[in-house]
């Protein structure tokens, strides 16, 4: 059984208690592939490389099967500023 979007969400939720989390399955049927946006206080005071390491570590178990992972955003709550809807 492969890794699902729900697996990824639950691993990130429990490791990072994110205030915003978006996981998009980008596999199109060719194997586990995801794009994620995550906003968490755990990123406070950490540069981008360290933030990505935290995400990778949270998904260590899933990474064995994930074919491609793209971390589009790894921000702190104060950086997170959702784009207003286009008028």
């Amino acid at each position: 059984m492969g890794v699902t979007k729900e697996n990824v969400e639950s691993a990130l939720n429990s490791a990072l208690s994110p205030s915003h989390l978006q996981v998009i399955d980008t596999s199109g049927g060719c194997g586990a592939s995801f794009e994620i946006e995550v906003v968490s206080e755990k990123f406070e005071g950490k540069r981008l490389l360290e933030r990505h390491r935290i995400v990778n570590a949270a998904l260590a178990e899933q990474m064995k099967e994930i074919h491609a992972l793209s971390i589009k955003k790894a921000q702190t709550p104060s950086q997170w500023n959702p784009q207003p809807a286009q008028a």
Partner: protein
Amino acid sequence: SIRCFSALSPQLKSTLDTVVNSHKVLLFMKGTKDFPQCGFSNTVVQILKSLNVPFETMNILENETLRQGLKEYSSWPTFPQLYIDGEFFGGCDITVEAYKNGQLQELIEKAMCS
């Protein structure tokens, strides 16, 4: 006693120390700079080409020991892996972000002059 399997032998580690320090900009990737075999690797190659800097690439698809060992060496689970001035810089997402905000160019320029 507990024994943990490691793909990173002391010999491989010391080889990698030498290799990453012998090139200012080094990309471990899937395929070669002229024939990338993955979209993520291709993205980083295109960024480096557009910055007009000399860089070396190593094809991890040709060497499974290297591929597994590097994941431990960099503490990074995926490829591509970009090294600048002997230090791990990041994967594709980090490189794209740093390219957009100008930090990549700045860091590479600094490396070239050091």
